[in-house]
């Protein structure tokens, strides 16, 4: 084990995988200089397999499809997740459908990378959590690592997956450090991890929300409230079984998601549990999400909208029938 920062873990994984497999290619805006640090040094090491793109998301997302169809494992760095909207046609109409439309004629090993989420005064056009939109496409896997260890394991799996995968890294968490195993790890896409154990309430938290949820769980543990915190790690495929098994045991569910509430990952998870674990539920399911607004610039405004420890803990107390206490 070694302590690594999220960005460092991603960077080392890219270096490692590209060194092992010369079919892996990577391109995107400013990837040579690397705005975030995740693609740093790759150009020097891998030459023409790493290329800066013009600011042309529409052609870029489609080039990834063509290069993958022609036999490469493509890492397409879209920088900010919000820019994926500009390049959405090839993601939504091509990458996610081409295999199905052609009855499995091809594999499309593409990793679309980007950062997502708020908390940095980046304002509305650099702060979306857009994973629910990809969840609804059907043909794209969606990975949202919450720790450096998960980032390496999920990225490695994503690069070698024969399908398109969205690899969305929480924008503000690049500097977060955590223990990363020394041996190379592959985390199967679709396997949740239990981050904190408890018997009273099941909590599912996604991406950047895992840390706030964990802090809330630890605090609640001191008050004698046991939270079982599950990080699905990928929302497509979604490890519904792990979530349902926990809900059937605890009878209570809180879902924490940085997406806007309407059609969020949280609302889908809530629906799955309402459908399939209804008779185990002892209380209504609570979602802790972002209201259906654009994220603002000013720190106090932004802070007020993002889920935090206090709101998460309140939701847990609420499903336990305890009065919510204002905190944080």
């Amino acid at each position: 084990m070694a302590k690594k920062r999220m960005i460092q873990a991603i960077n080392e994984t890219l270096h490692g995988e590209m060194a092992k497999d010369d079919k892996i290619i990577l391109f995107g805006e400013d990837v040579e200089i690397s705005l975030f640090g995740d693609t740093r040094g790759l150009k020097d090491k891998f030459g023409t397999r790493v290329r800066n793109m013009p600011i042309s998301e529409t052609v870029m997302s489609g080039m990834a499809v063509g290069a993958a169809a022609a036999g490469y494992k493509v890492v397409c760095h879209m920088m900010f997740g919000n820019f994926m909207y500009t390049g959405f046609d090839s993601i939504a109409n091509q990458a996610s459908k081409l295999r199905y439309m052609t009855a499995g004629q091809i594999e499309l090993p593409i990793v679309y990378m980007g950062v997502f989420g708020g908390g940095r005064s980046a304002a509305a056009q650099h702060s979306d959590a857009m994973h629910p939109m990809f969840m609804n496409l059907g043909g794209i896997k969606v990975a949202l690592p919450a720790t450096p260890a998960d980032a390496t394991g999920l990225l490695r799996a994503a690069i070698h997956d024969p399908n398109p995968v969205m690899f969305l890294q929480a924008a503000g968490r690049g500097g977060e450090s955590g223990e990363v195993p020394d041996e190379e790890q592959i985390i199967e896409l679709g396997k949740a991890s239990t981050v904190h154990e408890g018997n009273d309430v099941t909590m599912v938290a996604i991406g950047a929300m895992v840390r706030s949820a964990l802090r809330a769980a630890r605090k609640l543990a001191k008050d004698g409230i046991g939270v079982e915190l599950i990080d699905p790690r990928t929302v497509v495929p979604l490890d519904s079984e792990a979530i349902l098994a926990s809900v059937r045991r605890t009878g209570r569910l809180v879902v924490v998601d940085e997406a806007r509430d309407m059609c969020s990952a949280a609302s889908h998870i809530a629906a799955v549990c309402a459908d399939q674990a209804f008779y185990a539920l002892k209380a209504p399911i609570r979602r802790v999400t972002v209201p259906d607004v654009a994220l603002p610039y000013s720190p106090p405004l932004e802070k007020a909208l993002l889920p935090n420890e206090g709101r998460i803990a309140d939701a847990v107390r609420e499903v336990l029938g305890k009065k919510a206490v204002e905190e944080v």
Binding site: F36, R120, A122, G172, G174, G175, E176, S177
Partner: protein
Amino acid sequence: MKMALKMPRIGMNMEEGTVVAWRLQPGESFKEGDILYEVETEKVTNEYEAPCNGVMLEHLVDEGDDVPVGDNVCRIDKTD
């Protein structure tokens, strides 16, 4: 004038930085541009330069602490 210095946003996506080393101890005086501490973000270690002349009064965080952007890092006495 006594005041606190805050953790700056160095990286575009930085939410917090780690103060890895203090270069100046309480009681020592500094000039604008002197390095007060080293801060590590997701990419690199940066040096925090004093924005003014002054005297270090107090470290509000320990070396190794993760400090959210905008939180206070130290207290100084600003001089001219």
